[in-house]
Subunit: 413 residues, 2 copies
């Protein structure tokens, strides 16, 4: 496990305000780790709306299947997250484990099992002993308090090198509403796999259907626009909870995502998602550089996304950035292999604003020294202009370093 | 540039026989390298059939565009290959350079430009000065001899750690015909990109159309089933040449790929392609282990191929193999992210024949020590049984090591 904090970690960590209707508690249940918390319970006021998006993996974990089924009810009273064991690829025992955890949580909270949401991250293929939650969740339900957001972010970490939190306050009608988010990113320990978990909470009174629509749209340019290594976890989970408590201090009840009164809220909500997603990229295994890839002039936004992802997932581009080389040749390669419309002779490429290639060849005007100095910076922007249309997209990734290989390959030695 | 020979290099290097109608010569033209050959000329008897398959990149190199255009004629008299400069992303000068090289070669051989085939590998984005071929190709045309296959394989290397050759002899009718192949694999030097070049020669009398059909089929389970890092070069080129000289000693003239008399030939031809493709995987940058991925029980062969490629290109699977860990959890992840039909609870996975997971969970019968011993071997087979249908496929790759990152990222320091 990496211990040093990523050099790309945010330097400003916000104070996390309370959110009416949300109480938190954490515990060390000894699921896998020693001497650290590994269970988070979020207790939610009755009537809380819930929305979720999940991994596209065809082999999802048991908790993902649990959440998908429970989402139909649209209401949540509890979120239980454990780190240390992903309860993935655990066969029938995985399903039994989620059922048992759900039952324990429902009993502790005095709610329905359909109002309990679960997420697990950690080792896969090892049965998760749900009896470890017995007693623990009761105690956490008693202890849960409106503060402790940083503790919550810490309890869900695996090999993350820093806890990930984000917050925003915004007007909804005449009321001030709050949005808090926590996330864990792509870290892994033997024999784990990268998993992204994120949970967003607000006191805004938003219907489950509207919240689901907001989340589905919001994820597209945030979590879906981040890649560490192109690998997709069986457990990726993003849940949003809206307690609605702000109705008591004047916030209007929102039933449709298209409601114009939501404008400022949507912007802040998407900002929280983008902020958390960027923090995940900043904590990519072994990452030394954050890479922002902008593709413009594509025939469409989906086409720009595909090309941007092809660049972001190219080991050759990522190792070049690790080597502080503005290797536009590899960018051309990645554009070419994306399979999307591209015309070599119209292609321009710039690194941190310095154009190194234009019209199908090296840009004779660029200064190698100037580019080299830019490439030493911790944040690298690669911009590709295709010159074909108006399609534009942006994705975030990180470089591919020896440390990545060490984290993911050396753990046995 | 790596200098140590890959530990996965073949130990038996065949004696390469002559092929009637093919003469070879190499030279040090000083295109980029010092003190080594960097130009290969293959002189072919009049009437030689040619076939080719190329990179699917949307940004192909100038020589790829040249070859595609010339292929229509179906006849070849010369193949000119240079290493050190790929003549890719060189704009208009790239096209001028291929035209000039074609003209020089045609003059040296006394043939049409349409009978000259070109391939370049090396730096991209730097103009290739075709005047360097002036005089050189004349001299090579004079010197060309029927032997020197190993010299030919050496002249086209970039960061390959060993020359790649393969040969087979087989009956066509009553005549013995010969197939020789040379290849260069995925190596790179600043600021290059991986390129695969392969050239196959035979004295069998096969029409251009039949040869093209054979090549198109043969490449599917050989070169198209090999991946190093999922990145696709702008220059990948596979050309096949059939001089037809074996007609003089009794080989029947073949005009259709479906001709039953070709049966033994097709097997040997595909064997050469598979052999060369495997050597490319064995020389993957930084490779310490050859990984064979077999997917069976898929709904179709294309579905099996997609899943196998998802596993083969997963950095998490490749680093786990580098770490000598039978990490089936990451294999599940790669199956899941492929997007193809898969049922977690029917999935079985084995490493080197030892089943570690079955029916959606860890196989309780497997012996960790036994698996660990297997994982220390240089050749690792990962077999995934999906239990859905009869689709089966096989791809080759190599592990992802710190050495890969060093080769592709450290060159600036």
């Amino acid at each position: 496990m990496s211990s040093a904090v990523s050099p790309l970690a945010p330097t400003d960590v916000p104070e996390m305000p309370q959110i009416a209707g949300v109480r938190l508690a954490t515990a060390a249940a000894g699921i896998r780790y020693k001497k650290r918390t590994d269970v988070l319970l979020a207790v939610l006021d009755p009537g809380t709306s819930v929305a979720g998006v999940f991994t596209k993996s065809k082999c999802p974990s048991a908790p993902v299947e649990w959440c998908r089924a429970k989402l139909k009810g649209g209401r949540a009273r509890a979120l239980v997250v454990n780190s240390g064991n992903a309860n993935a690829f655990t066969g029938k025992t995985g399903k039994q484990s989620t059922a048992q955890t759900g039952a324990i949580a429902a009993k502790a909270l005095g709610c329905k099992q359909d109002e309990v949401f679960l997420a697990s991250t950690g080792v896969i293929g090892e049965p998760l002993d749900a009896s470890k939650f017995d007693g623990v969740l009761d105690k956490l339900a008693d202890e849960a308090r409106p503060d402790g957001w940083m503790d919550a972010a810490q309890a869900i970490m695996t090999t993350d090198t820093f806890p990930k939190v984000a917050t925003a306050q915004v007007k909804l009608g005449k009321a001030k509403v709050t949005i808090n988010g926590i996330a864990k990113g792509a870290g892994m320990i033997a024999p784990d796999m990268a998993t992204m978990l994120a949970f967003v909470f607000t006191d805004a009174p938003i219907s489950p259907a509207a919240l689901q629509a907001l989340l589905k749209t919001g994820v597209e340019d945030s979590f879906n626009a981040v890649t560490i290594d192109g690998d997709t976890s069986t457990s990726d989970t993003l849940l949003a909870f809206a307690t609605g408590d702000a109705a008591a201090y004047g916030a209007p009840k929102i039933s449709k995502a298209s409601d114009v009164r939501l404008k400022a809220f949507v912007k802040a909500f998407n900002g929280i998602l983008a902020n958390l997603a960027e923090q995940v990229a900043r904590d990519g295994e072994g990452a030394r550089k954050l890479i922002e890839i902008i593709v413009e002039g594509a025939v469409s936004k989906p086409s720009a996304r595909k090309i941007a992802m092809s660049i972001a997932n190219s080991p050759l581009v990522k190792t070049a950035v690790a080597g502080e080389d503005a290797n536009w040749g590899r960018v051309v390669m990645a554009v070419g292999k994306a399979g999307e419309p591209a015309n070599r002779d119209k292609l321009s490429i710039s690194f941190n604003g310095i154009r190194v290639a234009k019209a199908g060849a090296r840009d004779p005007s660029y200064n190698e020294k100037e580019v080299s100095a830019e490439m030493k910076k911790p944040e690298i922007q690669i911009k590709v202009s295709l010159g074909l249309g108006k399609g534009r997209d942006r994705v975030l990734t990180c470089d591919l370093t020896k440390e990545y290989v060490a984290i993911n390959g050396d753990y046995r030695s």
